[in-house]
Amino acid sequence: MSEGIGARVLRKEDKRFITGNGKYTDDVRNDNQCYAAFVRSPHAHARINGIDKSAAEAMAGVEAVLDGHQLTGDGIGNIICGWAITSKDGTPMNMGAWSALATEFVRYVGDAVAIVVADSPANAKSAAEAVNVDYKVLPSVTAPEKALESGAPQIHPEAAGNLIYDWEIGEKDATEAAIAGAAYVCEMDITNNRVAPNPMEPRSAVATYDTSEDHYTLYTTSQNPHVARLVLSAFYQVAPEHKLRVIAPDVGGGFGAKIYIYPEEIACLWASMKTRCSVKWTSDRSEAFLTDAHGRDHVSTAKMGFDADNKIVGFQIDTIANLGAYMSLFSSAVPTYLYATLLSGQYDISNIHCNVRTVYTNTTPVDAYRGAGRPEACYLIERMMETAARELGVDAGELRRNNFVQEFPHQTPVIMAYDAGDFGANLDAAKAAADYDGFEARRSEAASRGKLRGIGMSSYIEACGIAPSAAVGSLGAGVGLWESAEVRVNPVGTIEVLTGSHAHGQGHETTFAQVVSDRFGLPTDNVQIVHGDTDKVQFGMGTYGSRSGAVGMSAIVKALDKVEAKAKKIAAHLLEADEGDIVIENGEVKVAGTDKTLGWHEVCLGAYTAHNLPEGMEPGLKEGAFYDPANFTFPAGTYICEVEVDPDTGTTEIVQFVASDDFGTIINPMIVEGQVHGGIAQGVGQALLEQAVYDDSGQLLTGSYMDYAMPRADDLPNYKVSHESTICPNNPLGIKGCGEAGAIGSPPAVINAITDAIGNNDLSMPATPAKVWAAIQAVATKEAAE
């Protein structure tokens, strides 16, 4: 059976996970292992008057209690945001200082003030509680729109009025004029709720300093260990790059939250040097809620104008995005280049203008969470399309189709140039799978049971594999967004692939091996994927933004091209044939049209014995490649959600969820379907259940699984997933990416379905039973009044 591209190969990595032999960061234990606990601010905003460490330092097992003055005194640099955004008036963004351990002010509940190192986790925690910090509590603000009001508490001296930047994209005057002349204008205020990413493995770091070599090793829960090393070295001055090894072993989910370099990794590395102990810190779940970067948190007002033919003529959006108390690594890019550039959706819109103000608040920093900007854009567009269809009295699917981009490439007015797609095909496939036309009969049947049944749609587009490096650099990115790979062919013909991508659930060890298998006809068992260790892999940008297929695999393909070319040269020499006549298939190297054949392993061995190589050829068979994409990729699709609402309780049950996606070439359908399932679950979670909630004093009320509604098995449906693919023309395999689509496309489909069921469009996420019940009552009250 083929194990190549398109095959439903079971995962190579599964055995270690199902037997309990996965190796996660918290499973690492070194000699001289000590444990860290952090002293954290209990206040949303306060001045630190003093820190009394004496009681903690005297406690059993305590090695050290270290504070921010010591950290900065040792030259450890501030944490930075790596993407510079320029405001529309030409001024640079107003980034406040962020020390890994706060020195003068704390700015959110959970802000780290000191690190305690002790001989056991329990002793470290006990001592952390004994550190006495003298706080002068200051006024705080958590809501983004309130942070911009005059008189709001000032959070950073660098950002007057808490404004980080005031940025725009598109033509303002033309868009306003188009909307002014529209036959119909859909206007909505839309909030995208703040959520907590919640990978099931809490963040963890194990830092070890080798005195004799002046060398650091960091095991950490990272989606991008090389970027972590680069930032820790170049910007935070923890250690020079060649003296710092970062290993991200098995990582238990990321969803964005494990992209960033947090205070804890910095503090653990520094503390390992100060104490000469190996320092391990593993987050509690409560700590994770406080300190893992949150996602979303946008407040927008939008107008979408249509002409008399129901074509969109203009789309104008004003957004305030909450970045929390500090600017996390990619936080500035999320509400700008990952959000506003997708506001054309699947539609041919001539005039778009979006203004974005980002603000500091006394909350956990906000950064990319699965989808990162695209879900916020999709939610706006697709809530408005559905609302417009209802107000215009036309079918929601047909209104979309009437506005779909039909020809490619298509240049939108907001930077993106869509390269390929067939939006109508996915709409048709989703409608067929959902029996869209039979819905009214199901609605009537549900009504006979006293249930309100509704249907909602969402036609999303997103952008993956953010690129090319020169383009993102011109937009302010501090890094290039290419990927690297190295293919090492062993003398016996087995292959190791070293990749700069990082797997934390995506199944790269299988899919990447399938690409190699496909090329040479080798079993995937003969291919080993190596990743996540800066000592093994030369460099890599890691895994986020659904880039590992489109960018990571493309780098592997480029390296495979070089390996294949060299292997063919060797084979041609050995077989006394023309290089152009050599074919490699099913593990054999053949001269086409003859019976002359060598085993793959014989060619590989020949490369290493070097007894009989073409003149001037270097021995060995190992090639590397860097791949920088020419463009983003553009996955797209249509999702249809069908719900039943109990009018007595406001409880929503998702009775059907259909997804039809265009991901380009699919390497392993089983894994792609799994990615879509998980993405939809996170989107449904955001739509129905999840929200990070702060009280007026800045305390996070949703700080545990007792308070934050994580989707559980009985909250979610089965999913009907299918694909209508067009090939991406901009990478060698034609891949678009599938990691985030589910989380991007699903929230508006769910809310569109519920609002259809209850007949009230005024409903925000999460659509909890209380909110849905109140929305039902509001309709009943209005009808009674009429």
Partner: protein, 153 residues
């Protein structure tokens, strides 16, 4: 300090632990069986499920001392041979992605079959999984895996 002894995956084990030591800490730190995971601090996520005297228990919810004299099975000791049918079903149905919740899921699933039988409908599986959280899979394939594994146990 307390002295605890128990049977762990068929072998007699013992250790000296602080009174406050949780069973999951004893398993992970003293015995170095790291397949049992800690995903939360409120006994909600189920990543730490083990079997104690044949019943599924969240090992973060009891003290090591309370397991004194008990027969404990962790994910490492579940299979008789290479793989337990439920472990195999998780692989064959793509019932895992990052793998972190997986040991707890599998231990809970085996217990589910022990209590509810081998013929499990979808609704039963979803309801019974209330105490186990997965963030990767959306549960679709976990439900399939448990139904499949149950039929093969």
């Amino acid at each position: 300090m307390a002295s605890v002894s128990m049977t762990m995956n068929g072998k007699a084990v013992s250790g000296e632990v602080e009174d406050r030591t949780l069973l999951v800490q004893f398993i992970r730190e003293n015995l170095r069986l790291t397949g049992t995971h800690v995903g939360c601090d409120t006994s909600q996520c189920g990543a730490c499920v083990v079997h104690i005297d044949g019943k599924a228990v969240k090992s973060c919810t009891m003290l090591a001392a309370q397991a004194d004299g008990c027969d404990v099975t962790t994910i490492e000791g579940l299979a008789d041979g290479d793989l337990h049918p439920m472990q195999l079903a998780f692989k064959e149905n793509h019932g895992l992605q990052c793998g972190f919740c997986t040991p707890g899921m599998i231990m809970a699933a085996v217990d589910m079959v022990n209590r509810k039988g081998k013929d499990l409908d979808e609704k039963t599986v979803r309801t019974e999984l209330e105490g186990n959280i997965c963030r990767c899979t959306g549960y679709h394939n976990i439900v399939k895996a448990i139904q499949d594994g149950a039929s093969k146990m």
